[in-house]
Amino acid sequence: MGRAPRGMHAAMSLARFLAGTLALTAVSACSGNLGPPRPQRMPVADGKPAVVGAPRSPRIANYKIDAKLDVVRHQVTATETLTWTNSGQSPVDTLPFHLYLNAFKNDATVFMKESRGEHRGQKASPDAWGWIDVSSIQIAGAEVRPRGKFPGPDETVLEVPLDAPVAPGQTIEVRFAFVAQLPEVFARTGFKGDFHMIGQWFPKIGVRVGPPGAETWRCEPFHVLTEFFADFGVYDVTLTVPDTHVVAATGVLTAAVDNPDATRTLTYHAEDVHDFAWMADPYMEVISDTAVVDGRQIEVRVYHRPAQREFARRHLVAGIGSIESFSKLFVPYPWPIMSVIDPPPDASGSAGGMEYPTLVTTAADHAGFRPGVRLPEFVTIHEIGHNWFQGILASNEVEEAWLDEGVNEWADGVVMGMIYGERGSLVDWDGWSADYFHVARAAMKDLGKNPSPIATVPWKFVDPAAYSQATYEKTALALRTLGNVVGRDAFDAAMKAYAREWAFRHPTGRDLFAVLERELAQDLSWFIGPAFYGTGVADLSVRDSECRPKHEARGVFGDGTARKTVTERDAPDTGAWVCEVVVVNSGTVPVPVDVEMHFADGTRQRETWDDRGAGHWHRFEFERSSPLVEVELDPDGKVLLTDDFLDDQIRLHGDPAASYRAGARAAFWTQTLMQGFGL
């Protein structure tokens, strides 16, 4: 081979270096290999009662399920026996069942049309649809599947007419055989690689609601912005999975046996729950510790892949703190175990952040969330909080999403403060600190421009952003504001009363407000009406503020010979100041608010303005020995349900010092850019 000229050689070296760099970049894009799955150690039965004490709920819908997971085809083949009791006072001639997985069957379902194949930023795979095929339904030994029909716009609800009505108080047994094909997960349930998160996977009966004697079914098609609603019951579920897989499930493990075909059958038992979900994955590890509730030990487990160990520790601390705090605030956690699934990073956005009884999925493991930036912890706390708001207080998530999501969001903010300290509950990192509620308020923009009230059926919101803003943050801010107005201790006690009164039942929004009014012994309609059933917020601002030196009247007084002119010399300034401050609430939610006046001599004067029925504005007039320099509305940050709080605090005379400081910082960054681009 000939020898290339020196220049050519250098050029080739350069080309090789560039190619190498590109290849390195491409290789780095590939994920790490965890190796082939290996058989897991046989799990030990939990040996704990599924629920503490006597039955907590009416146990209307009880399920026995025998399921086998095919991890290659991502399919669950199962039989199910539902024992359902008509707890109402009217006979039932039709049984409706949710077949949630059919939401992922094609792009013509309600869910897929509403979501356009996207959920929380995750896209549906066009090659991995999900569905549930119910091949048999037997009632009293008779096959009734052929009679079943899909009454709605898609196949997410199946109705089966009965030969004979189920009388009030009567129990009926329904047997199913079905195959559930899991979708590649993009909305809570499905698989991603070897990870299987299995929720909404079995035929599930609707709920009868309404006044006694006039009950009707609630069994809506699966909408993108709605979650679930079901009756409490007992679940006995056997899961057969490859012996290489770690399993976490609702309830307690009562038995585990190995089968000759390298599978393992695990039996779970859960009481007083209204759903059953499970996870199977060959690479999960588990860490655990105990929370103590009323002297009782609750085991909190976090399932995670090895690379997520550091985040798992953070989730564990959050999990223990939330079990103890929610128990203290509302009702004690009644089950012995809480399992937190930390999905692998490639499934985190799609499977993470979902709640099931005694089992939740968390999310937000990311290098950007350094210890102290508590987004991962917040997700865990939020999902565990759902074990109260809707796990125990089983409101209708489908129609009143705010009653679990929003109330839970409020409770999460309180619990974050209890665990991490109120001032830096959400962020406490590198000298920065912020609490959940004030970040939520600062993050909200145009809160009052959401066209739908908080109390709106989810699928009737104009878009997911409006749904999310009203259902989550606006509800939380409204409840916090109400709590601040009526007194936090009293409010917390009233919420506790609500939780205790409605635990293991199906409360509505009106039930919540009735308990609050009763417990707080006051009419709250002035706030609840506009805040929850109207679209507005409180919009407080200082409309006018002025101070002038005080003196006797000057000018011309009297007529004729008595006319007298009083000049500045005749009526000099007394040294005192006459001040006026006009505050307005141009929003639709009236709130009592503190107004603090700051004076040049450093003194302050605090007044309270109660906007309720006061015409949306108020003029404060006062005399002081020192001029007014600043007016601050709501100095303690109690009114969180508000838009644009930048004008809540104003100076009478502008001070540009902070602007110059900001300008100096901007100059440095501009100069840094200049050094990158010029000369």
């Binding site: 970049t25 550091e310 100059a667």
Partner: protein, 311 residues
């Protein structure tokens, strides 16, 4: 005088030494260039400050935001997005103005480093004449550089980041995050270094040959520089070394400043002084890089001279 002669092979060490010499011999020029840049940057900062003051001078929440209250900062940013955009465009305008001015200042600096005049007056004359003499050629080189960056560097950066987008999104450790980012941007950075080196040597070539080759145009200089840079990868290494030095001093500043946010009026003055010091050091590094490039540029033979026949 230059230590290198035509045809000599010089390495990074010699180029770095030439850079140090350039900065130490022409400290006044470095300070002058820095002063122009600082005035422009502070001018932009002043405009931004006045704009902010027009909106926020009566709102104490802005004071809190500037002085480290995270919630106040969040609220200000969230509710003043138009002002944020205005601030950004003021900065962009200042940077673009600096770029336009750089075609003159860069020409002047290269002329001084090439001709090595003695005395303040002679240096000023040389600087002015050099900057004016090569301005339009530098403008064309600047435009060519911009086009090359948009056509090559930007797509490389986009492709690189796209290749590791999933990794960035799922990074569990800072090492994952920063490592992926570095790898993603490495091809684009290398391309930028190559393009930067080519354009820098085209400018050096124009300056070096101006007294003898006044017919040498920007396109010719770029093509000659491309060949030169490809044959002498040390030119790219030298550009990268300059970047590394600037990144290192910035990193040292970041490390030292960590935990000292310097809020309030006193802190703001201290911050301004320290950051201007940092900017001055980085300006000196830029001039040192130019010095090294002149040194290397002088080692190559000049292009053939055009012979004009006359009767």
């Amino acid at each position: 005088m230059s230590a290198a002669r035509k045809g000599d092979l010089i390495g990074l060490g010699a180029m770095a030494s030439a850079g140090f010499r350039a900065v130490s011999e022409y400290t006044g020029m470095v300070l002058g260039l820095f002063a122009v840049q600082a005035v422009m940057a502070l001018g932009a900062g002043l405009v931004i400050a006045r704009l902010l003051a027009a909106v926020f001078a009566t709102r104490p929440v802005f004071d809190d935001a500037v002085d480290g209250d995270l919630v106040a900062l969040f609220a200000v940013v969230r509710n003043a997005d138009i002002l944020g955009a205005a601030t950004l465009w003021i900065a962009v305008g200042a940077v673009l103005t600096w770029v336009v001015l750089s075609w003159f200042l860069g020409g002047g600096a290269l002329a001084v480093l090439t001709e090595r005049p003695r005395g303040r007056r002679e240096t000023a004359r040389c600087f002015g004449a050099g900057g004016a003499g090569t301005y339009f050629a530098f403008l064309r080189i600047g435009l060519a550089s911009g086009i090359a960056h948009v056509a090559l560097v930007l797509p490389a950066a986009i492709v690189g980041v796209s290749a590791v987008a999933d990794r960035l999104e799922r990074a569990l450790t800072l090492m994952d995050l920063l490592g992926s980012m570095v790898l993603a941007l490495l091809p684009a950075a290398l391309l930028a270094a190559i393009i930067g080196a080519v354009m820098d040597y085209a400018r050096a070539e124009l300056t070096l040959r101006r007294p003898t080759h006044d017919h040498l145009g920007a396109a010719h200089a770029i093509s000659r520089a491309l060949v030169f840079v490809v044959r002498r990868p040390v030119a790219i290494g030298h550009v990268l070394l300059g970047w590394l030095a600037a990144a290192a001093v910035t990193g040292v500043y970041g490390w030292a400043a960590h935990g000292h946010p310097m809020y309030g009026p006193g802190g703001a003055v201290a911050l301004l002084v320290i950051r201007q010091g940092l900017s001055l050091v980085r300006m000196a590094i830029e001039v040192a890089v130019l010095g090294g490039q002149v040194e290397l540029g002088q080692t190559r033979p000049p292009p053939p001279r055009r012979v004009v026949e006359s009767d």
